[in-house]
Symmetry: C2
Subunit: 644 residues, 2 copies
């Protein structure tokens, strides 16, 4: 079946990628309807984007661009990568405007685009720091300079804005810059590779968007030059931070700065989708295994180390000092999405979903105004010299990478719901939506998806329009679903073919057909690999895609979250609480609270001390991890010690 | 009873300190005889000191001083604090020479002293980095410059050298530098405080040694100027690193860079011993409680964070990423020694002993040639990108603070065995020794101490000479000893007075009297505070002052250290192994090994997974923690999970 070029999709349009198994859908093919994620998109539009626009002004990002444009005089403010926050904000605005008109938002966006245009030099170069502060040292510090990183975000925003709004102005700016970069770097030109990966996936997308192969070649050049010591000559200790410690095709582990690592693997997977480079694929597969089998939190968070914002050693997954940068989990979504597109295997969607509902969603407050940079799995909830910023969300941050990153991901979430291939349509994420998809055959299928996911495991798909010839509707069976059942028009389906983690329903669909998927969502207890020290003899409560936690405000008055033990044999009880934290399903369990006063004067004692302490039965109430830290500073834990 | 001024003692001579409860003994009063620690002192003399002298040459420390002396031309090598390694080496040499003549060692030492003298400027200033590299910026960077830090080590070495050998040459150099510093800093002169504490305790000791009160005043000045933002104006995040986050009398927790914190508290305690400043004492007591109750490993190691080499939050004590710098544990010994001198309370000696036998002794290989900078409590034993240096000892290090620090501590260990007060003599550490002590009454007591400590809990003290009037022999009952008994001349003593953790034996001692202390040393299991995540549901094996570990080479062929569980109800069996690791008591326990192959492809699984895995009984063999990593890279763990 021939590949049909459809209008641009969201962040990734792989409709022409030769090595894709699944293809993304164009804007408008999936519209989220009232539900869990559409509410988050509304908050992004109504709160986060306007607030963020204001913060870009307050924090100096716009000031810096105005300096570069020669509109004002003054000192450059903030770190070298200030422009990238503006670009990520614009990308989020693009997806938001693609869904529905919003003159006010469009006005803000257009003002930024105009400003960027004014800042851009006549040669196409634009980066406020290097234009304002060190104009003579342009491209002189690829390791820390972030010029190519900012350029990558500009390109991603520009492609999104063009695709989402039809306004090509930002794309023209970005392409001029890309052409400038292409004139500087490449074989026979300047050697180099960026200290912070990002431009790789942007250039591949620009190639997909424009058909200009030189952008793909430039991405390939940057990738091939990595791992040869260009970024950190003689200082081996930093080479993993820059992702320069090994040529990409020889990598077998995820290492160093987590966002850099996963932006890189995302770009590499994009490259694979275009080139089919088998050696590259093998490296990516090895690295994915390393991440998922040895270096990922149960929340989907990655990058366990504060030091270097880095992946740790295998099984190095502290709860209290978990770094789990929100941006790293977002990068994991980007990478897993591309791996899914390359393979059609649900395990990538499983990891994507885990990060999305937990490690990322915890990164933004329920009201959309405050953010976590770091997402620990344990908080003592106390004020301390340096612990404070990890127990309370902040309104913005001196390195404000996470806020606009959350915005652009949530604003583009319709992109991740479904794909198509030669056989039909695949549903990856379950959230209320209307699908209006041109199949690869060129024929239209319209489906209404209704569900209370992530609170209930029932998903209902109503076929509203379909070609008469048979095609496959593939439904992802999440890894947590132990007992999924499917009914079509009320009839239980007993012999459903399952492939790569998807139930494949192939038939001649008719308007009015109803598919009912029941994922049998019940609360469950999870344990960790026995080599994960800080989760030993503990369980995490999960339900559907959500990881739960115990937060202090939900416990009985005399029960301290740090002193509890759970009885793992007691039933877990769901309780829907529409009034609590925006409406959540809480989970209750039986446990006990240990009187640890005897421990207050010491850290170590003879074996048996804790076992002999008085215990009192208590009812434990768990809330979704993503909802913690919305009621002030309080103790919280994901891993709950088991009663003896 | 009047205080008698005796000839200078080792590192601390508090014989004139008004607020000391216990007073240190002069050189020669305690001579270690053949045993555990004298063997280490021999290794320091025979191996570590000569090797270290060679390394000081190879690493450039001597070259830098030669540059400063104008003897050679070339580039400065290494970090700014290179001189301090030379001074610490000299301090170790001083204690070693105090014990017995060693012409070769003395020649090395004298050559260094001559070199330092040549490097010293006419104004008394000496610091090779600032003399050679940035002479015009002397004292310009108190935060990172380490000039006062190096000066402190020079002073400590000089006082030791003068006391230990009677050769005043280094003391003259040091005092000229101290006078130079005193001419620069102080009220009405230059304001400031050092970024790395160290000079405080050195200046107090110089005051004690010379009687010159201005050195005490200068120490007081540096202390009082700390915590007022002089070191890190406007950058609050680093102020704890420099110990500048709070005025010292307001501190209630140990924070920031661990060595800086504990060198500071050591100096503050010295200051308290001289001034009796009650507010300062209250702060030190609060900080000690915080360290011992919330931030210390079972090994006595402190400073859990790699990032900033810092104390973590309360209960933040990871096993794999434990930093536990050898120098920080040494600093803990220094501080606890001074707290003991101030109070006479055994709990300080308990912490001192714990650090000494475990977190410090692990920092040097059995052959005295290789060192650990970082002392983790868990090693997977595998080579990894950055994990290697934590699983294998190194011969020297680019920041070689630890090796000469271990040398000077071990070389001065006789200093820490006993003290005297108006009532008599106190024994703090048990190791074979001859004590030849002038009591505060001015009368002589001679005692022979024999023991196989730390392998056996029996300690025998033979009174060889004693005044006839009654005096108290106080014997420390370690916190681990649950059932100590004492016999005098074969007669069990049932009503021994115990005060501040010491058994006080007051009587008219006669030559030939024999005291037999039996500390009832048996292997025991220890557990940690339930808030210490990585030790949950685990036990540590301890025996006497030693913490044990499981290292891979001692286990059965198919038993992987990372897969074991211990049966805490099974008896622990001692087994003396003269052939193993220089002669050690091993401890055996029953346990099982879990077949974790089923976990290899995942990190998380339903609760019950590990419980259902096949197990095989195994005999676990534990060795003292200090002895690990002497047989190549291998998995090791201190905390052993308990069988269900």
């Amino acid at each position: 079946m021939p590949t049909i070029r459809l209008p641009g999709a969201g962040p990734v349009d792989n409709s022409t990628s030769p090595h894709a198994r699944l293809r993304t859908l164009p804007f408008g093919a999936v519209r989220l309807s009232e539900g869990f994620w559409s509410r988050r998109q509304d908050i992004v539009r109504e709160v986060s984007l306007p607030t963020g626009f204001h913060m870009l002004d307050v924090a100096g990002n716009l000031h810096d661009l105005r300096l570069a444009a020669g509109l004002v005089k003054g000192e450059y403010q903030g770190p070298v990568f200030m422009d990238s926050d503006v670009y990520k904000w614009l990308e989020a605005a693009a997806y938001t405007l693609a869904r529905r008109p919003d003159p006010e938002l469009e006005k803000m966006a257009d003002s930024l685009i105009e400003l960027i245009g004014q800042a851009q030099g006549s040669d196409g170069y634009v980066n406020s720091y290097w234009q304002v502060v060190e104009p003579e040292r342009r491209w002189a510090d690829l390791s820390f300079g972030h010029e190519l990183y900012c350029a990558g975000h500009l390109i991603q925003a520009a492609v999104a804005y063009d695709r989402g709004t039809g306004n090509p102005r930002l794309l023209e700016i970005a392409q001029r810059f890309a052409d400038n970069i292409d004139s500087v770097f490449g074989p026979g030109k300047r050697d180099g590779t960026p200290g912070h990966p990002e431009i790789e996936m942007a250039l591949v997308e620009l190639y997909r968007d424009t058909g200009e192969r030189r952008y793909l070649n430039l991405a390939q050049f940057f990738v091939d030059r990595r791992g040869h010591g260009l970024l950190d000559p003689g200082r081996q200790r930093h080479s993993a931070y820059f992702q320069d410690h090994v040529p990409v095709r020889e990598a077998s582990t995820v290492e160093g700065h987590a966002v850099r690592q996963l932006y890189l693997t995302s770009g590499l997977t994009d490259l694979y989708l275009e080139t089919g480079d088998a050696t590259l694929w093998q490296a990516l597969s090895r690295q994915w295994d390393d991440m998922v089998r040895r270096k990922m939190y149960v929340t989907g968070g990655v990058g366990s180390r504060h030091m270097g914002e880095a992946f740790g050693e295998a099984y190095e997954l502290p709860n209290d000092r978990a770094y789990c940068e929100t941006c790293a989990a977002i990068a994991s979504v980007m990478w897993n999405w591309r791996m899914l597109l390359a393979t059609g295997e649900s395990r990538y969607a499983d990891v994507l979903e885990r990060a999305l509902y937990n490690a990322i969603l915890s990164g933004i407050s329920l009201d959309g105004q405050r953010y976590f940079y770091v997402n620990p799995l344990l908080s003592h909830g106390v004020d301390s010299l340096i612990g404070r910023k990890f127990a309370e969300r902040f309104a913005w941050h001196s390195c404000a990478c996470c806020p606009p990153n959350v915005m652009r991901l949530f604003a583009s979430l319709d992109h991740y719901v479904a794909t198509r291939d030669g056989q039909g349509l695949q549903i990856h994420l379950y959230t209320p939506a209307n699908l209006d998809v041109t199949l690869e055959s060129g024929q239209l299928a319209r489906i209404e998806l209704t569900t209370d996911y992530p609170w209930r495991g029932e998903v209902r798909l109503t076929i509203q329009e379909s070609p008469t010839n048979p095609w496959s509707l593939s439904l992802r069976i999440p890894d947590w679903s132990a007992n999924a059942t499917i009914r079509i028009n009320g009839q239980p389906q007993s012999n459903v073919e399952t492939r790569k983690g998807y139930a494949i329903l192939k038939r001649s669909w008719r308007s009015g057909d109803i598919v009912e998927l029941d994922l049998a969502m019940t609360a469950r207890l999870t344990e960790a690999h026995p080599w994960v020290d800080p989760a030993r003899a503990s369980v995490a409560i999960e339900r559907g895609p959500l990881v739960y936690c115990l937060e202090q405000p939900d416990q009985e008055a005399t029960t301290h979250v740090l002193n509890v033990e759970i009885d793992p044999s007691s039933p877990l009880t769901d309780c829907w609480r529409p009034d609590l934290l925006g409406g959540i399903m809480t989970i209750q369990a039986n446990g006990s609270t240990v009187d640890t006063v005897a421990w207050s004067s010491r850290l170590y004692a003879p074996f048996g001390t804790t076992a002999r302490l008085p215990r009192r039965s208590t009812r434990l109430t768990a809330i979704p991890y993503y909802a913690w830290a919305n009621r002030g500073r309080a103790a919280m834990r994901v891993w709950i010690p088991r009663a003896r």
